[in-house]
Symmetry: D2
Subunit: 201 residues, 4 copies
């Protein structure tokens, strides 16, 4: 396998990238000057060096020097009574971008699977998190995807949290379900309409 094929193969492991686009990436890199490639390599090294897993929420982010915490977890002004459980690092960014939430996060690292294919949520780490920070919580928001796997994971977590001594006083909630912005009734599925009606206000 030559160098083009080898780099192509590594790029096909990138999320959403097939062989053809991976190959275009390789030729794109070859056409760039040495400076761009050096910058890219440097940026990959830098991101790996400076961006580590936050010891509290477990998302990857630039950490503080003194303590291994991300900006959010190190921010003393956030609401310590609220915790949001999300699947992915980017979910934290999406939610922050919305500007509507001021509590803390915990990144599950995925969801459980109804078909049993992957089983990859950080359950042990969540238990430890709650032992440490659970006493202050008045609400735990299960912010999982509105998919069968996401709902299955939320149900599983809700049951676990009910039995967790560290958070007995916290209310467990889920994100509101209903019509998403931009959608029309005519194209909404029955389940969404049921939820939208139930959650009317």
């Amino acid at each position: 396998m030559n160098e083009v094929d080898k780099l192509t193969e590594l790029f096909t492991q990138f999320p959403g990238i097939g062989p053809r686009q991976a190959r275009r990436f390789v030729f794109f890199l070859l056409r760039q000057n040495t400076g761009y490639r050096a910058m890219l390599i440097r940026a990959i090294q830098d991101v790996a060096t400076h961006v580590k897993q936050c010891s509290r929420c477990l998302r990857y982010a630039p950490l503080h020097v003194k303590e291994p915490l991300c900006d959010i977890c190190a921010d003393g002004n956030r609401d310590t009574t609220q915790l949001m459980l999300v699947e992915k690092d980017t979910d934290v960014e999406q939610m922050e971008h919305s500007g509507a939430y001021a509590g803390y996060y915990f990144v599950l690292g995925g969801s459980l699977s109804l078909t049993g294919k992957k089983y990859a949520i950080r359950e042990k780490e969540l238990v430890q998190y709650l032992q440490k920070y659970g006493a202050a919580l008045s609400e735990i928001i299960l912010a999982l995807s509105a998919t069968p796997d996401g709902e299955y994971t939320a149900d599983y977590l809700a049951t676990k949290l009910k039995d967790d001594a560290s958070v007995q006083t916290a209310r467990v909630t889920t994100l509101g379900r209903g019509l998403s912005t931009g959608s029309e009734l005519e194209y909404a599925d029955a389940h969404t309409l049921v939820q939208a009606l139930k959650n009317r206000a």
Copy 2:
């Protein structure tokens, strides 16, 4: 213009049909036997004869013989305290299909437009409806699209309803907003997340 072109042109007025598909419709009809075309013509005539606008909710539906009401409006077992305002006839069908609603409907016939392009809701008819049936209502659900036009229409109606003497005691609600079934956090827009968070439960 020959007969093929003429029928093609009429089919292009059907919702969502371009010239090429309209033409395919024509050739499809030509290839069918006389029986199918006769059935189609008969069905168009029948639908126009038997399916009329319900005098109460204003949707098109097969009406009862004794009184000009659709099945829903003629059904005495439904909840007379609830009224849902929808844009289109098919919205009624979608909502009925969800099985989650047991009140009555009123079809607005469209929405107001922020850009002023169309102005076509049955406002006068709604006022008359409320004069007749408003006293019994404890809730009016504004089930409009989660689009800028839909929200503008809902806001407009909410203001009007507040001042409407016929329904002073009814609560005005809107359908729940949030994650629609099947959606993932990663692809949700900021506005949907804000709503999903606000409507968590």
Copy 3:
């Protein structure tokens, strides 16, 4: 089944129309005034009355009064030495629209199927056509789709035509294969490139 459901079902038989769009057609028709529906019914009747199968090329088209021929088949100025075999009525229109062909057509009414699902070309009628008009032909163009079924049909017809005494002197050709207008090499499949190279000029 009520009238709305019945007309919906008839519209779902239209090519490319699913139940939801069929239903939108019905409500569209109900919202139109009586005039539009009358025009539509009249146009369907007219097209069935005046547009008949041409006795020569077998396509549906408005026919001449004196003889049951379409405009093309009745046009004495076209090239009697060329015959193009196409699958569908709309293929004739597409080819005429290109303005590149001045011979006659014969509509096969479909293609043979490699998987044996449908077997619907007008083979007997083609034999009769060639007995009547074959002597004048110097070329028969097999203008079938560039799909497996289309190629299978073209191969089948080529073999049959070779043995057909009525057209012994006619050359049998197929449409050129290669890069279609607008396509880039990068996205062309291997088979198209092989053809494009073979047919370079």
Copy 4:
């Protein structure tokens, strides 16, 4: 700008990658172990070290040790009488993959633009190529995209080649145009049909 943002920005320069997918790349890299990132960095360095521009066809490829030539240009068994001009490196790979061509290539590095936006073909280098290898050529194949820019470039090159003393005896051809594999007559544009008819055989 932190390290995540910086690497995200570099990935958005990759062909076809928007900000959201670029960010997913970054988090994907962070989740991988050190080994994968090291391999990726190494592969980028290796591809830049070992994959150079072939001095003859100007495409990027692993070059031979003794002479700066790619596999194709170093292969003495290929047909020295044929030269194919292509836009991009990947076009060479696509054509090789088809297995239908045994001559040599020259990579133009792009196409001319009808709207004048980019002007980036290696014209000087082509002249030099032809001075060196033109005497042996009996055919030059202009394998450009079947787009307006591609056709404009082909026309431009055809004119230039006619006046080029180095290749006076070579025939200049273009790839065949017509129905591409998988296409149906019904969806073919008029221009493709004109070409398909012209190139019938």
